[in-house]
């Protein structure tokens, strides 16, 4: 442990893989498996068939010796050889068939779980996303599903068929000759004990090595990230020495694993040797004395030798099975998290005939505990009204919108839409009725059109079919863009194009309520004017909430609300607020100068 000194930080405390399999989880998994009875039952049947054929083969070989070769019967040899050929063909086909059928089964179950998990994640409330880093949820969908699928394709088939094989051989050995069977099988319990012992030891060693590897990787990744600092402080030598220590540590853990493995195989070799020696002596004597026939002895040799491979495989695959079960357990635990939406999701249609009359009534909200983000907030937005919300970062502007969209529920007070409490609406219909343009436009990789319809059915404005006339040249050029492939996170789009995309998304849904969340923050004035034109037409007569950092955006609003630490400290029209000479006026004056300066500044490359 001394090698670890000072480097513990890089060691992850690995999620404990319990050796115990919880019966309810196993039951849950089995229920999923039984949903596909055809591949399951046919596969199991083929396993039985294959095992039977494998078991019969040495016996048939021995039989050929006893029935054809020793009595020198040519006709029997031809017959038995043909049977032998049939037998191996059946066996090979059965093995191929069972492998493929179980692959089908595994793939179906995995696909089912994968989709269920994905859809479940989509239906979780945003609060869960705030608490769980996306990376961790990601691991569930990719790594855990992968290890589950490995369990099906590698672990499951092999465990079933190897267990059957071991059982079959043991029974057959005893059936052929009870005495010789008992003698040959006497080694078997020791084999099982060795298998259990080594599979346990291996699991521990694997885990050790894995955690050391992740420490090594964490250290290296951190150093690559901070390489500049390492260089500036002339610390290369020290860091390399520490890397070398972790490196050695990991290699030693690997070597320890090799040591365990290196003992396992010879143990099996020796055990097989003992069994065979016993069979040679007792079997040979029995043949010489005429109590068993020579073919039986030959078959015995084959059986005893093929008894040990399955045991080794079982010990190996048991670990695959365990880690698959651990993954299943983690997946199930996510599937048990409560969602905000029902399991069946139809296409969400916007609410009909919505007026857009919004009332915030004494709303208090905190993301956690008593740290209020909104304090006793009230606001009435009459249909068709244009409202601006301004304030510093963290004043609660975006939270306001999140409450309106029902991403979160206020702790106190209520929000009314057209006189009805928000909670009475279907969440998705409500969200579909509110069009929101965000500052950070999230671009999915796909075409422009995909990004507007979200790969859904209703094309809407994206294909230009329902576009209101005279929306300006920006939209008309859009049809050319529709087929263009957008890269991940929109890296091949300009800032203006992204904003256009965000506007197009909302235009396609024809919402009753418009929300602009810092929507024009990074836009050049040309694009901004264009979009202003589009917006004026599309949102005319509709309620509009503009959240803005740049006050120029909200100057023309019917009402401006100034938020500070969740409190609406000022409200009124632009001129009124300037006259009050409060926060709004100061923000405005500062921005006037700073905007002038930044326009002179060199564009950042």
């Amino acid at each position: 442990m001394s090698a670890a000194e000072g480097l513990e930080a890089y060691l992850d405390v690995e999620e404990r893989e319990s050796r115990k399999i919880r019966p309810d989880n196993l039951k849950r998994l089995l229920r999923l498996i039984f949903e596909h009875p055809l591949p399951l039952l046919t596969g199991l049947l083929l396993v039985l068939l294959g095992t039977a054929a494998t078991l019969l083969e040495p016996r048939l070989f021995g039989h050929a010796i006893d029935e054809a070769i020793v009595p020198r019967r040519w006709d029997r040899l031809v017959e038995l050889t043909s049977w032998f050929f049939v037998l191996i063909t059946v066996r090979v086909l059965a093995v191929i068939g069972q492998g493929y059928l179980f692959e089908i089964l595994g793939n179906r179950v995995t696909q089912r779980l994968r989709c269920e998990l994905f859809s479940h994640l989509q239906r979780l409330p945003l609060a869960i996303y705030d608490r769980n880093p996306a990376g961790r949820l990601m691991t569930r969908v990719t790594n855990d599903i992968a290890s589950l699928s490995e369990m099906f394709s590698a672990g499951f088939v092999s465990m079933v068929s190897n267990a059957l094989m071991v059982l079959g051989i043991l029974v057959w050995l005893l059936a052929l000759d009870l005495r010789l069977g008992l003698i040959a099988g006497s080694v078997f319990p020791f084999m099982i004990a060795a298998g259990v012992y080594f599979s346990g030891r291996l699991r521990i060693s694997y885990r050790e090595a894995r955690s050391k590897l992740s420490a090594l990787n964490a250290f290296l990744a951190e150093n690559l990230l901070g390489m500049k600092v390492v260089h500036l402080f002339n610390r290369t030598g020290v860091h390399l020495a520490r890397f070398e220590r972790l490196n050695r540590w990991y290699a030693d853990a690997q070597i320890a694993t090799v040591r365990v493995f290196a003992l396992f195989q010879p143990t099996i070799t020796v055990a097989a040797g003992i069994a065979m020696a016993l069979v040679i002596w007792f079997g040979g004597v029995a043949v010489a004395e005429g109590t068993i026939r020579i073919g039986v002895l030959v078959a015995y040799f084959s059986y005893v030798l093929s008894l040990f491979q399955p045991v080794r495989e079982l010990a190996d695959k048991w670990n695959v099975f365990l880690s698959g079960m651990a993954s299943a357990e983690r997946i199930f635990s996510i599937l048990d998290w409560p969602t905000e939406l029902p399991a069946e999701l139809p296409e969400a249609k916007p609410l009909r005939g919505l007026q857009g009359h919004i009332v915030f009534e004494d709303v208090w909200f905190a993301y956690e505990g008593e740290r209020w983000v909104l304090r006793d907030f009230s606001l009435e937005i009459r249909p068709g009204m244009k409202v601006g919300v301004v304030g510093h970062t963290g004043a609660g502007k975006t939270t306001l919108i999140s409450l309106l969209m029902r991403f979160y529920e206020p702790q106190k007070g209520r929000i009314l839409l057209d006189g009805k409490d928000l909670r009475e609406y279907d969440k998705r219909e409500l969200r579909a009725s509110i069009g929101i343009v965000q500052q950070d436009v999230f671009v999915f990789s796909g075409t422009w059109e995909d990004n507007i319809t979200f790969w859904g059915k209703s094309p809407g404005l994206a294909t230009g079919s329902g576009s209101p006339a005279g929306l300006g040249p920006a939209l008309r050029r859009q049809s050319e863009r529709e087929k263009r492939e957008l890269q991940e996170r929109g890296s091949n789009l300009s800032v203006g194009e992204r904003q256009l995309l965000a506007f197009s998304r909302v235009l396609a849904t024809r919402p009753a309520i418009w929300i602009l969340d810092e929507a024009t923050a990074n836009m050049d004035s040309g694009t901004e004017k264009q979009l202003q034109g589009i917006l004026d037409e599309a949102a005319s007569g509709k309620s509009l909430i503009m959240i803005a950092h740049r006050l120029a955006t909200v100057r023309r609003a019917d009402l401006i609300v100034v938020l500070h630490k969740g409190v609406a400290i000022e409200r009124g029209r632009h001129e009124e607020l300037l006259r009050r000479d409060g926060l709004y006026a100061r923000l405005y004056r500062y921005q006037a100068v700073s905007a002038e300066r930044s326009e002179e500044a060199v564009p950042v490359t």
Partner: protein
């Protein structure tokens, strides 16, 4: 002529092979001892492998022919003896060979990491960390695998080809030829299958990558998806991507599940031949004629044929592993061929590090002479025609918009990038001619992106004091340079407040610190080594104004203070500097003291100042409001 062309091709092939296998040969030579003993063990195992079937043959023949029973006992004991010896040797080759491969892997990984640590900043600007990590992990592993398991499989297969056929031939030449009829198909099957499996596996990986990418996007864009209530469409799309993966997976399964059984079938065909032809030979064999084939031979052949499948398959696998290791070692070599760090002049005018006493310090004079600079790979000059002299003891501040060239200018001082056109002199010596280590000892550089290691506070601060931690044994840093530095950086009180005080773990894997705390810790880290030139690149941006003022005042009186070069966005940071330089578009626009620059009514600095004044006014008003909100709750 054609002969020479052929030999050239051969030598080309040979040199390619030598180049491809250079890592393998190097490490096999380095670990030649364990590799040798591992190989010896392997050969013994393979030779012994021939014996058991012969023992079975002899036992059967003995049992039938009514030979003395004690023969059977001998055979049984011999069988056991062979098994024991094989067991020991099997243990031996694993322990020797695999261990050697783990050690070689460790060496290669260490060598690669060591090289990375020596590469200049410009290398890391362009290489994603993920890519370097995958080189250090999976590519090193591929080479290691070839050295261990790959070599082993290859050697094992080759020895089998020598030993087993000889034994078979010795027993019965006719049966050997017969049994070998289907065997040559196996390597062909293996290679063909591996290719098909590889191609289908890649396709499947692509499908999985698509699923991962979509999941990542869906999780990242969850707000958008929820806001537009498009969960259903996303789930449909995910389902269809999943179905693609299922199809690709089954396509792979079709070749993969068939592979083993096909090999098995081929081998079993040999058994059918054996049974039919060998059986006929046994039957037709008249008493007294040549007893070419005994029943025991027949059984021994059954075992031998089964043994031959593995080496045939192994040959294909070993070839695959070799190919993989070649691809990986070429990738590693590409990075290893990179030149480490910025070149420096051999006959430097500054005394070499070993020669100078640890207390030696520069005066701290910095001269820029018509200096222009562009970042490697960039098409645009970040700095052009900078000429400026900073006298020892002076504090010079640089201001300017984002992209004006402040960071570029400052990063040249510790030579994070080499100076190209023009000159940068420190104490009259070109920075390119300074020994890098010495230069970086003299220049304390605090970058705008804070980076702390996942270590304790004291370790992070004593970072630049080589050997200090070891000497102090990690004891409490009272009255030490560490505390002196934290006092100066105004972070001592914060540290004392952490649950573990100076032993608190920070960095990515440590406690959460505020941006200001991180910045102050990095300042402490830079000043603890008492650099004669201190460079702060926007390093106080998250520190509040009062604390900033205290830090800046303190720095004026720090021990061994010489020159300070500061870049900042805030007026408060720079107004007390001896001189202020306004940068615009990589050029010097204005130089002077705060008062002088303010006097220029139309100058850029004056506008900057006005903006800052309004900002300060806004901030103090906001603070007033904060208090009101906390008191009143409502409006």
């Amino acid at each position: 002529m054609s002969q020479s062309a052929a030999s050239a091709r051969r030598s080309g092939f040979l040199s390619a092979f030598l180049e491809d296998s250079s890592f393998l040969r190097e490490y096999l030579w380095k670990y030649r001892k364990p590799v040798f003993w591992g190989m010896v063990s392997l050969i013994v195992v393979d030779i012994l492998e021939v014996i058991p079937p012969i023992l079975l043959k002899e036992s059967i023949d003995a049992a039938i022919d009514n030979k003395p029973l004690r023969l059977l006992a001998y055979f049984a004991l011999a069988y056991l003896g062979v098994a024991l010896l094989q067991g020991v040797c099997r243990w031996g080759w694993r322990v020797f060979l695999i261990r050697a491969s783990q050690e070689a892997g460790r060496d290669l990984r260490g060598r690669f990491a060591g090289h990375l640590f020596g590469l200049p900043a410009s290398f890391f600007d362009k290489r994603p960390i993920g890519e370097l990590m995958s080189l250090a992990t999976s590519d090193v592993e591929a080479v290691r695998f070839m050295i261990g398991a790959g070599l082993l499989t290859l050697a094992d297969a080759l020895f089998y080809f020598i030993t087993v056929p000889i034994a078979m031939f010795w027993l019965s030449p006719e049966l050997t030829l017969l049994a070998f009829i289907p065997l040559p198909v196996i390597p062909w099957l293996v290679l063909r299958n591996q290719r098909a499996i590889h191609e289908r596996f890649e396709k499947l990986q692509e499908r999985f990558a698509a699923i991962s990418a979509m999941t990542q996007e869906a999780l990242g864009g969850i707000r958008v998806i929820k806001a537009f209530a498009k969960e259903d469409a996303q789930a449909d799309r995910f389902r269809s991507l999943g179905e693609d993966a299922v199809r690709a997976s089954l396509r792979l399964a079709r070749v993969q599940t068939a592979f083993g059984p096909t090999l098995d079938f081929t081998m079993s065909l040999g058994m059918v031949f054996l049974l039919y032809v060998g059986g006929r030979a046994l039957i037709s064999e008249e008493a007294g004629t040549t007893a070419a084939v005994s029943l025991g031979t027949f059984v021994a052949f059954q075992r031998y044929i089964q043994k031959m499948v593995w080496p045939m398959a192994a040959l294909g696998m070993a070839l695959g592993a070799y190919q993989k290791s070649v691809t990986s070692s070429n990738r590693l070599k590409e990075v290893l061929a990179r030149r480490t760090d910025v070149p420096e002049d051999e006959n430097s005018e500054v005394p070499r590090l070993e020669a100078v006493a640890s207390g030696w310090r520069t005066a701290g004079k910095v001269e820029f002479r018509d200096l222009s600079f562009r970042f490697p790979g960039s098409a645009r000059d970040a700095l052009s025609g900078i000429t400026l002299t900073v006298e020892p003891g002076e504090r010079v501040a640089f201001v300017g918009a984002v992209g004006a060239g402040k960071s570029a200018l400052l990063s040249l001082l510790p030579r994070l990038y080499p100076v190209g056109r023009g000159m940068l002199l420190i104490d009259g010596v070109d920075v390119n001619r300074w020994p890098l280590e010495e230069l970086r000892r003299q220049v304390g550089f605090v970058s705008q992106d804070v980076f702390l290691f996942s270590e304790t506070v004291v370790e992070n601060i004593a970072y630049g004091l080589h050997g200090w931690m070891e000497a102090r044994g990690g004891t409490a840093p009272e009255n030490s340079p560490v505390e002196e530095a934290t006092q100066l950086a105004c972070v001592h009180e914060d540290v004392i407040g952490f649950s573990g005080s100076y032993a608190t773990r920070v960095g990515e894997r440590g406690v959460n610190l505020s941006g200001g705390q991180k910045q102050r810790l990095t300042i402490a880290r830079a000043i603890v080594k008492k650099p004669s030139i201190l460079v702060l690149d926007d390093a106080l941006s998250s520190v509040d104004v009062q604390t900033e003022e205290r830090i800046l005042r303190g720095l004026r009186s720090r021990p061994g203070r010489n020159t300070e070069i500061i870049a900042a966005h805030r007026i408060s940071t720079i107004q007390d500097a001896d001189r202020i330089v306004v940068l615009e578009d990589g050029r010097v626009r204005q130089v002077g003291t705060h008062q002088e620059l303010l006097a220029d009514q139309r100058g850029a600095y004056r506008k900057f100042h006005e903006e800052q004044r309004l900002k300060t006014e806004l901030e103090s008003y906001s603070e007033l409001l904060d208090a009101a909100v906390e008191r009143g709750g409502g409006a």
